[in-house]
Symmetry: C4
Subunit: 205 residues, 4 copies
Amino acid sequence: MSDENRFILSRGRLIALTDGVFAIVMTILTFQFVVPIVPVSVIDSELPKKLIELWPIFLCHVTSFVILGYFWIIHDRQFHHIKKVDRTFLWISIFYLMFIAVIPFSTQLLGQYINQKIAIITYGLNLIVILSLNYLYWWYATKNYRLVDDNLNFKLITAASRKILIAFIFYTIAIIMSFVNGYFSILLYIITPIYLFIPVERKLR
Amino acid sequence: MSDENRFILSRGRLIALTDGVFAIVMTILTFQFVVPIVPVSVIDSELPKKLIELWPIFLCHVTSFVILGYFWIIHDRQFHHIKKVDRTFLWISIFYLMFIAVIPFSTQLLGQYINQKIAIITYGLNLIVILSLNYLYWWYATKNYRLVDDNLNFKLITAASRKILIAFIFYTIAIIMSFVNGYFSILLYIITPIYLFIPVERKLR
Amino acid sequence: MSDENRFILSRGRLIALTDGVFAIVMTILTFQFVVPIVPVSVIDSELPKKLIELWPIFLCHVTSFVILGYFWIIHDRQFHHIKKVDRTFLWISIFYLMFIAVIPFSTQLLGQYINQKIAIITYGLNLIVILSLNYLYWWYATKNYRLVDDNLNFKLITAASRKILIAFIFYTIAIIMSFVNGYFSILLYIITPIYLFIPVERKLR
Amino acid sequence: MSDENRFILSRGRLIALTDGVFAIVMTILTFQFVVPIVPVSVIDSELPKKLIELWPIFLCHVTSFVILGYFWIIHDRQFHHIKKVDRTFLWISIFYLMFIAVIPFSTQLLGQYINQKIAIITYGLNLIVILSLNYLYWWYATKNYRLVDDNLNFKLITAASRKILIAFIFYTIAIIMSFVNGYFSILLYIITPIYLFIPVERKLR
């Protein structure tokens, strides 16, 4: 079998592995919702209160879910163009998945300690590492059209890279802003994928 | 590559992601069954008693599993007709998966506090949000035959929509009824998928 | 689209869902291995002791894993012949998956209380329900060649059914034997898949 | 249907099951990161300290992730050549997956007790059993070209076997070295996949 064919086979399994990791991470994000234990005597008054107290966790949950959805859609779009994979590309992808898998932890940390600088920074660093690895594998794949179609539009390549860089800058600002106001950082984590939604769609087409 | 082809590729991955999330949610539903810890001295008498005490959890487990099976079959049927996906559709689906992933939490809440109004309402709201998003993506996909076959029978489209609306109404009644009698609500959660089973089959064919 | 085609599509997704559930169940079986917490002062002597104490859990783990492997191989073989699925078949399969998903719980119960009748019986009942549903969907699919190839060898159909029935009988004996000697029951749970290994292979070919 | 076709069908499902198990194991590896609980009064000083204390867990996490990535890539490469599977091969693979699934436990044990001989040995034994089963199924598949292409280069077969043996030897040394210096063992666990990275690539091509 030629190398070419081998690399195309591996592409299918890498996508399966990636979809598996995303599906699991999206599902175990909910593990941070723990059913509160309330004594029977005060259950009527306490249970609703305890459930309402879960709101910062719910906020972080929605934020992470939207960001994961955003990462997944980017990955899907990139793999419309990435036609084969080589071993270096597989390793970058494995490190990418490693930090995707950490999101439930950093989300839970943020949900528990939403006004703590260290939690906000950890969460932001997690996202920045993912974006960096995303940028890295896209750069590696498109460099000299290594793993993509020869006729892939050059503008599309740079548009996708630029999109990742913008998110990178926004998340860096969010981390720096955490020294001033933590809630502003969290706001920035949320609005970045929403902001990028429309222009990216336009550019990628 | 044309947009058309791109959207067909994404459809396959969306299905893989959805099947992954359903498989995980169906499996981690069982996490609410915790092996009871019983002191050695009273193990013979206490262990069977503790296991029997799990019955409300088992009841909720079966209910949620049947409902998940129902949602999965609806999704499968809808995707027989949905031939491609666009970005808006992907986002609706991601929010749909977000609330599918919350089912283990709301099931566990209901299992722990089966006679508490707040638990019954939370569970019902979870189902209603899922149905709403299901309705929304079906409406979006079929509107002007955007993502479905041109020759798809119009009656089939409205039959599928009507089916979701009926479940929506039933679950709304269940939530309202929880102010009168909680067990009636739970009964309604269970019988809705069973009731819809036969007529839907007839209509969809 | 014809009904025929629709049912073939659903078959692929049912297999994906089933493989997903098996993969997760096989992995979360290990959740019963909890890293023991040992005070620093006695760590050298206590940690190895605590790890060795995990042996009944390890025994149950291997047993369940082999049984799951066995169920998965049966499922795979059956689906070589099952060429399409209908809604009734999907529902039987969903109930089948429900009880596959319960295996980590009943395994953990058995691992914790290996000499308790109730744990041995619960475990056995779990397996028997799975075998019954397995028998049911195989019967449903092959009845009048409903979902299988018209030219499928009749002997193969009955051989597969007989194999399931033998396991059913063995597990029933194991449950009854638990009133006499629990370890004999566990032995029977383990050797049944091993015993069936060779003859089944011969018959199915 | 001929046996030949049946075995090719099973191959696809075995790959799906394997990718599922790897995706889950890679994700639940992160379960060892537990968000620390810190009293509100000392949160500013204690939380960063507690997070930094997680470093041995993080180290073990990265090690296991790289090793899992390595195993997954080996598996992928081997299945470029393994064209069909038989029942014996399926059973070896199921035992292989059993020990892949144990990695989160042995990783967590090592993370908790990084300077305990028993933890280092357990971790090493886990890896050695995986390598042995990997060697076994590769030997079984390639013996008399049983499950691989007839025209598969003999040098490639022995190169892949040799690669597994080298890792086997390295991990055995690591276990023996744990009686002298535990950190050396851990170092060896980490560098083995990195060391094997480049030569294997060359040999396998």
